[in-house]
């Protein structure tokens, strides 16, 4: 009887506690879920803002002008040498076409504002056409020319027309002309191929990210070529060959510390060593790659050591047991099995290096460079620095280009990380 009573008492207490336990578990789950949700909200906010700001950059406004390829302006003496053709006054053609379209514009000041509707890049567009086909000289042709960034912004409705005229980039008379052009179907938004084929420029409508993409590519190439072999070799030596003593412990602690060193410090180191001491040129991907390699090395070494550690010792014993030398054991068995993990770590390290800005500022990769680099020895910018430079520019049209460049950068980062995930899934092994 006493026993039964005690049992019932116990059960009652258990029941009481049980509810509390379930409540705790539920609360814990809710907290975890809300943490993830808030993270997702922030990320989607980031993506939405960038996309909303940036997608318009993939379009560019063009104006259709009836250009007379006046021989008097291009090839006055009937000479069609490339030298003469390339030096000809194509700006005059554009101006003449504009004047013809708006004959009412007569004053010098008004003409000047009229010419501003077309980008300075229109000149190069015409020159290229003539150089390709000299037969155009003497003919009249409708040509779509790049509009100025202010016109572009107006068409994309980024300009507040309610503002006072003096505060606006587009004046009232310009607005009138543009409306007229629009009415005649002479204004069109087209895919902005310039953004992907041009280097940096002071004119937003002529600027592109090709230079920065190439710069990033060469920088990462150098970084990978140095950091991967050195990192893997260091990891293999430390994990497979070095005896475990105070020195290797010290090295391990230092490698872990290096991974946490602020990246700008690596930039200073690169400036002092590679540029000041070794005399390498500034602003080049070679130095950028070297600096980023220093920065990525700890990441690669740590990931590679973890990958080597995950190879079961029984494989090493098996190889040693049939008489393989330690070197053969590593190259024939351990390294191939650890390689997927090492590659994953390397790709993550590379993605980190791709997004790195601060150390590159220190070695002069923040310069304004128009030319597209042809190799790791040409001065160039990299994607994150390009973002930084454009974000710093006052023109409204650079705002959308900044976001567009971020989108390109994110696309590269995401695809690199997906590659890492795919590699891990494909070569994942279980023992």
């Amino acid at each position: 009887m006493n026993n039964l009573q005690q049992h019932n008492d116990t059960m009652a207490r258990v029941q009481q506690g049980l509810n509390q336990r379930y409540r705790n578990e539920k609360r814990f789950r809710r907290v975890g879920l809300s943490a993830i949700m808030s993270g997702l909200i922030f990320v989607s906010f980031l993506f939405i803002t960038i996309f909303a700001n940036g997608y318009t950059a993939f379009q560019q406004t063009y104006l259709k002008l009836d250009v007379v390829f006046d021989p008097a302006l291009i090839a006055p003496l009937g000479m069609t040498d490339p030298d003469i053709l390339s030096a000809a006054n194509y700006g005059g053609l554009v101006k003449a076409a504009m004047r013809e379209m708006f004959p009412s514009v007569t004053s010098r000041r008004e003409k000047k504002t009229l010419y501003k509707l077309v980008s300075t890049g229109a000149v190069y567009q015409l020159r290229e056409m003539v150089m390709l086909d000299p037969a155009l000289i003497g003919t009249k042709k409708s040509v779509w020319l790049v509009a100025d960034d202010d016109v572009d912004m107006l068409i994309k409705e980024h300009i507040d027309l309610n503002a006072v005229e003096s505060d606006r980039r587009i004046k009232n008379n310009q607005l009138e002309w543009i409306r007229l052009l629009q009415k005649n179907g002479r204004v069109e938004k087209r895919f902005n191929s310039t953004f992907f084929t041009a280097g940096d420029s002071r004119e937003p409508e002529l600027s592109g990210i090709k230079g920065a993409v190439y710069g990033s590519f060469f920088t990462l190439l150098i970084c990978l070529a140095i950091a991967f072999p050195v990192g893997v070799a260091a990891a293999v030596y430390l994990e497979e060959f070095a005896s475990k003593n105070r020195w290797t412990d010290l090295i391990e602690v230092n490698i872990n510390n290096l991974a946490a060193v602020p990246s700008i410090v690596f930039g200073l180191l690169g400036l002092a060593v590679f540029i000041n001491f070794f005399g390498l040129p500034r602003s080049v991907p070679l130095v950028g790659g070297l600096v980023l390699a220093l920065m990525t090395l700890p990441t690669i070494i740590i990931a590679s050591r973890a990958a080597l550690k995950s190879v079961p010792p029984s494989i090493r014993e098996a190889a040693l047991g049939v008489g393989a030398s330690p070197m053969q054991t590593v190259t024939h068995h351990v390294l191939p099995l650890a390689m997927p993990g090492m590659l994953t770590g390397t790709i993550i390290g590379m993605a980190q290096a791709l997004g790195e800005t601060a150390p590159l500022l220190m070695i002069g990769m923040v310069a304004f460079i128009v030319d597209i680099p042809g190799g790791p020895f040409d001065p160039s910018a990299v994607l994150p620095v390009q973002v930084y430079l454009w974000a710093d520019s006052p023109e409204r049209a650079f705002v959308e280009r900044t976001s567009a460049a971020i989108m390109v950068l994110l696309a590269f980062l995401i695809s690199m990380n997906l590659l890492a995930v795919w590699l891990r899934k494909k070569f994942e092994r279980r023992w």
Binding site: S314, E317, G323, H332
Partner: protein
């Protein structure tokens, strides 16, 4: 140490010329030698071990073990967990070299050469003393490549046909040929546990070793697979010298001709398997095989 020196005062006087450390060492050995009961030598030894001590750092794991491994015989090493039988086995092909803090002293001879001699190449030693491990550990490669690995790194085959012959012969000897001959290109890790272990045996005998060391080869296998491996060990005895560490006394009784009983790093008793299991001379051996501890 003081006590030992006192006990052996006479010996100390004889060894005046030797250094103190050497004297201590010899005295310790004299003191220990008495502990092993039974015949540790055989008429036709393949490997000779004398006064083997093994240290892990400061801790001594094996105390003064002297033992002969007889030619074309199976010697079983039994004893409770942590008695040092695996450690001793791994001394025989210097697998202990892979452990930084492990130190081996004493003499282990094969073909009249000390295998711990610095002039001896450990790679060639392991080619003549093969090893099979507790957990089947085929390489994550094809069955063919698993067996071919040893011959390849040692350059044993002159041609592809020769290599194929070696592999077929090895798999035959390991009793695995009929089961895998149609799927040599499939991964060795896809076989069952017992098959994997026989694959490891085939891998070991592909380099034609003289001695095969087996470290609890059946502890991860079911009784049927175990029976197959035991049968195989009995067949292999014809051509190879085998040293096997096992936890199963029945297994030791079934497969071995000689049995060595280890206890706390010391070799307690060694002798013919029949004698050990029917008439153990040492109290500890008797307690162990009658199941009083272990």
């Amino acid at each position: 140490m003081e006590e030992i020196v006192n006990q052996n005062g006479a010996v100390t006087e004889q060894l005046d010329a030797a250094t103190d450390a050497e004297i201590d060492m010899r005295l310790v050995r004299e003191n220990h030698r008495s502990e092993t009961v039974g015949e540790m030598t055989v008429d036709d030894p393949r490997m000779i071990c004398r006064n083997v001590d093994v240290y892990y750092g400061d801790k001594q794991a094996i105390f003064n073990v002297s033992l002969d491994i007889g030619k074309n015989q199976v010697i079983a090493m039994i004893g409770p967990s942590g008695c040092g039988k695996s450690t001793f086995l791994r001394c025989l092909n210097r697998m202990n070299d892979t452990i930084d803090i492990c130190r081996v002293t004493g003499v282990i001879k094969m073909d009249n050469q000390d295998i711990y001699d610095s002039r001896l190449d450990v790679v060639s030693l392991r080619a003549s003393v093969g090893m099979v491990f507790q957990k089947p550990n085929p390489f994550p490669k094809s069955i063919f490549d698993n067996v071919a690995y040893g011959p390849r790194i040692h350059g044993l085959s002159d041609s592809d046909t020769h290599l194929n012959e070696i592999i077929e012969r090895s798999l035959h000897k390991a009793g695995l040929w009929d089961e895998v001959k149609d799927r040599l290109d499939q991964p060795g890790t896809g076989l069952s546990g017992g098959q994997q272990q026989r694959l490891c045996i085939a891998r070991a005998i592909a380099v034609s070793p003289e001695v095969i060391l087996m470290d609890e080869p059946c502890s991860a296998l079911d009784p049927i697979a175990t029976a197959k491996i035991e049968e195989l060990i009995d067949e292999l005895r014809e051509n190879y010298t085998i040293a096997i560490v096992t936890h199963s006394m029945q297994q030791a009784a079934r497969v071995s001709q000689r049995t060595a009983y280890f206890h706390l790093g010391k070799l307690i008793e060694v002798g013919e398997t029949d004698q050990i299991f029917t008439a153990p001379r040492h109290k500890l051996t008797e307690d162990y095989i009658t199941g009083r501890f272990g």
